[in-house]
Symmetry: C2
Subunit: 322 residues, 2 copies
Amino acid sequence: MQELAGYTLFLEKEIEKLEFPSSPSNLYDPLRYFMTLGGKRMRPILTLLGAELFGEKIENALPAALAVEVFHNFTLIHDDIMDEAPKRRNKQTVHTKWNRNIAILSGDVLFVQGFQLLAKQKSEHLSSLLDLFNKTAIEVCEGQQLDMDFESRQNVSIPEYIEMIRLKTSVLLGCALEMGAIVANAEKEDRRFLYDFGQHIGIAFQIQDDILDLYANPEKFGKQVGGDVISNKKTLLNLKAFDMADSAQRIILNQLALEKDAVLKVTKTRELYDLIGARSACEVHMQEYYSHAMQSLSKVNTPEKSKLPLIALADFLMKRDI
Amino acid sequence: MQELAGYTLFLEKEIEKLEFPSSPSNLYDPLRYFMTLGGKRMRPILTLLGAELFGEKIENALPAALAVEVFHNFTLIHDDIMDEAPKRRNKQTVHTKWNRNIAILSGDVLFVQGFQLLAKQKSEHLSSLLDLFNKTAIEVCEGQQLDMDFESRQNVSIPEYIEMIRLKTSVLLGCALEMGAIVANAEKEDRRFLYDFGQHIGIAFQIQDDILDLYANPEKFGKQVGGDVISNKKTLLNLKAFDMADSAQRIILNQLALEKDAVLKVTKTRELYDLIGARSACEVHMQEYYSHAMQSLSKVNTPEKSKLPLIALADFLMKRDI
């Protein structure tokens, strides 16, 4: 993502500058730790690009960009508790390194700090920013709840799954972009097109994530390849496979779900998915959302040249192998 | 609290009107349940009274009042998880009735709804309201963290304890009042005096809470009398007792902390506290904070008559037996 390296560097420096009080250390040490664990910083980059698209200096959208990143990290801290995840980006999660109560409360305080950052934007934009941010935060919680609900449900349809990832992942990408556009005083219609671009890229990104979980290069992938298969997680890959399987294949898929040998389970499942054509079917879906995103972007009323960084980011997200 | 019954009734009706989506039901059912469990609704009443004190219609401060109540309930849902409390107001807590993950996420979404309510206030007040609300929310989290930290600490001083209850409980009372004053366009100096009134009443209120836990009438008290003693919780009563005890009494206090028979433990501890004079010492403290609160209120530049509802509320809080 060479074209965007400048934005990432700028953001990393600003994230390092975020100040957390020294006391109570059990509340703020986890935040100092977690906020500098890294990551692609994709969401705040979107806010900066959203502002720049309409001719605004990126510095003027910085508080909103940081608010989005802080909010995203808050959701990760709480999600990790709920998912009982021991690691995140190859490092211990907050509830593992400290404890669950500290992770709940540190997450809560980080969430407030997101609102504090947002409140640094000009007061004329505050009401619009707050409305969008609140609506999005609620949708992200709804998405996480649906994801948890799906664990214990037998039949999850593909539209239901897409709606879940839209809420859990994609709306925040749309929100990040639109917040930049709000700061840049963009027209409502353009804001909406930009939001749709982000939302559709987000869905395509999440489908790519589902595919990578099983098909990534183990040497580059930060976590165990096939983790979703091992834990019988419902993903688009899994739902497509069941949807497209014939009755004999469906019996084997159900048997594989009970397989105890993790390596065997992953290898056999991948072979069967390939036979069924589940991966290609997911890639078709992903391409559809990507195209829809590009259509939305093309409707934004700014010079085509101004859109190149957003196109570069979208391409990177689609072609990544991690 | 006869003088304030009208405000309570008005608020209960408005709280009932709060709308939660039907789906995902695991996210919103807990909120429908928890928000109507009752309680004194003391904090939103303070916001309404804060607005009325400066001649504003209470209806105009309603969103801010509801935001405070919603925020308070969010903290209760998360605190109950951290404290592993099975009951709240004689009813099951959210994490007991549903599960811990649902309680984390329902709490998160309720918190956002607090900000959504706040955003309904006029945009000219939004920046001030948000700054105060954010600062307070962070302090409340800090107070909860200190409270948890104290559990595993041997020596907690009385000033440290007072600072903890100031953060955990009192700042929200000050905030609730000042939000009403902001909506009513009160002068900054008056806002500050009113905040101080709330903060000091809050500390007195919490000291009263500590005393009631051991000295309440069991027939009126909603929970087990002596619960703090049984769990060896650090309270002002407990810290004062250790502080004032002679060396022989201190040995007995340490022995009583290990006592397994709950009834015996509570009875013997109460007898010893009385002998030491811990309750009276706490009441002196409580009276000091009450007097300080009244001094702050007297400095607010409005007719004395306008302050009567606030004085009635403060008196009720000090004289309550539940």
